[in-house]
Symmetry: C2
Subunit: 380 residues, 2 copies
Amino acid sequence: MSVHSHSIVAPQLFAFEQPFALQNGDTLPRFDLAVETYGTLNPAADNAVLICHALSGDHHVAGRHHPDDKYPGWWDNMVGAGKPIDTDKFFVVGLNNLGGCAGSTGPLSRNPATGTPYGADFPFVTVPDWVRTQALLADRLGIARWAAVVGGSLGGMQALQWTLAFPERVRHALVIASSPRLSAQNIAFNDVARQAIITDPDFHEGHYTRRHTLPQRGLRIARMMGHITYLAEHGLGHKFGRQRKHPHYQYHYGSEFEVESYLRHQGDKFSARFDANTYLLMTKALDYFDPAAEHGHDLQKALAHVRADFFVASFSSDWRFAPSRSHELVRALIGARKNVRYIEVPSQHGHDAFLMEDAPYINAVRAYMHNITVSPAAPS
Amino acid sequence: MSVHSHSIVAPQLFAFEQPFALQNGDTLPRFDLAVETYGTLNPAADNAVLICHALSGDHHVAGRHHPDDKYPGWWDNMVGAGKPIDTDKFFVVGLNNLGGCAGSTGPLSRNPATGTPYGADFPFVTVPDWVRTQALLADRLGIARWAAVVGGSLGGMQALQWTLAFPERVRHALVIASSPRLSAQNIAFNDVARQAIITDPDFHEGHYTRRHTLPQRGLRIARMMGHITYLAEHGLGHKFGRQRKHPHYQYHYGSEFEVESYLRHQGDKFSARFDANTYLLMTKALDYFDPAAEHGHDLQKALAHVRADFFVASFSSDWRFAPSRSHELVRALIGARKNVRYIEVPSQHGHDAFLMEDAPYINAVRAYMHNITVSPAAPS
């Protein structure tokens, strides 16, 4: 019943007609956030869950916009009626982050100062900026305090930032396949991706829409490289190995191995749908995030005033955000005497595991969410 | 004394005026190999050591061409008088592989059929092709049998291939930081590198020299990405961490983190000196190498007729050619009842460790080379 009732969803646009000061010193005169919600906010407004998205995600978390949509939202296996984040119990909110390209104000939006798309003039946004826009959204929705803020990867950074910036407004943070700051290797991969985009001759210093072109070559390369780093070496080996498209070597630069076809297809798809300036901004937000920095690089100190309980999960084969990065966070939480549950999930899925269905992971999220108390729903 | 006498070296060009049939079915009408030698071939001609290079190496293995050269050859810490591969004992031969861009016939060479550079018309070359050209070079030098064939990474594949193709002509094979075949992840990284080059608008389907241009953007991206994979996550973290060029974030796409400057510099340097078509060919040779394939994917079977003794080394933090890839080879050698010494070196240097100086590694190579018997030198 309820599975069906929630399966068709519609995005909403929330307009914020007020100047918004960003961490980099710029001010946006106004902004929109694209939002989707699932389930019903209870009268006490204590059953709300915020889902924060990662690099390429958006507000379309679960369900379908049209019955004939081929794919549901990006976390449909996690969010829905009877699912680990159960929309029969929780009121779940997904949004497209500021600077995104799926409906919220971002580089593709019209710059009121010029009447043309922002493009490269869109300001840099940071994880703390995003969390402050999400707090404005919570105000608008009448949510004083989230039952939980949940995110994987870059989304996990936002969940962590919520507990730091608004300790009173978060009961639980679920930080999955994430890290309290990027490593040199992470930053290096991000920078190669950015260089691929920026040196694409169609980039035009970020004002490609004015030239009626797109830096798809560079974005495609960035995504192909990124995609390798989201998958586990073993998982990739298991799925593709050295399987070839032809029994004999062809001696050309077309796809000879199945893994080549797969990656090129991923790159083609992504570069046709995603905005390059948004990709650049998102990777910089990742690089910049480092909440311990302003506390003498002591994460435990940074966490001193946190009030949320934490659920932290990592995946054995994730080398982009390795378990050791989650250990860093868990150690600091324990040191700061916070409540934290940690699970290291054996998985072949690499960083992408946070989107997949390894049973120990799904079960742990389900159990954790099940134990969150909420007030009764309104009588129907 | 002898250290000094060997420190100035000169490359030689060996011309092979005979058609050479390649594995892909093409035939080169003739070819040159750029070669450097160090030390003296003894009267019995049983002290010769061949050094096979990796992706971006060449014949300039050790010493300097001019006294004021800033850097010596790429393996000068390993090869020289009194060094682990001791040129007071051994006659050491380095060459630039066929298809290279450092003097041997390759895509930059004049195609006799057209009078212009081969460019994209240069045929695909494989590890077995290279080994056959190296055998012709050995004939020319009067070397019936190598005391040792030595290589790291792609060079290690050539050392292995020597033992398979010419079992009578190799006494010892030193296979370092290598693999009997690439994994899906290895191939995936290679393909992204190739796609970066091929989709560079200056690539012109490989005939860029005719257009008086170079696909430096793509080659730079390929090298930056490759470079990350040659280094260990920990080594990179240790060297750069999150060190910044300015105390505060600059909010731009210039280099903000030291690791970005470093990588961009590596990419710039490499793309100014290396030929893109050669890079493409070398990565394909890596992908294609799979000597077990023609033996039902049974590496032990492939090794049945090998007569060489093996020294195999891997490095703990090398994730491009992880220790497990060396284990594959060692297990098969043991299964085939061959003599093999194996060392897994604890190192922070990642794949690049084969070029570095971790003491257990250097000492092991020194000891192994020391134990190789050679006939006396000619009386001086």
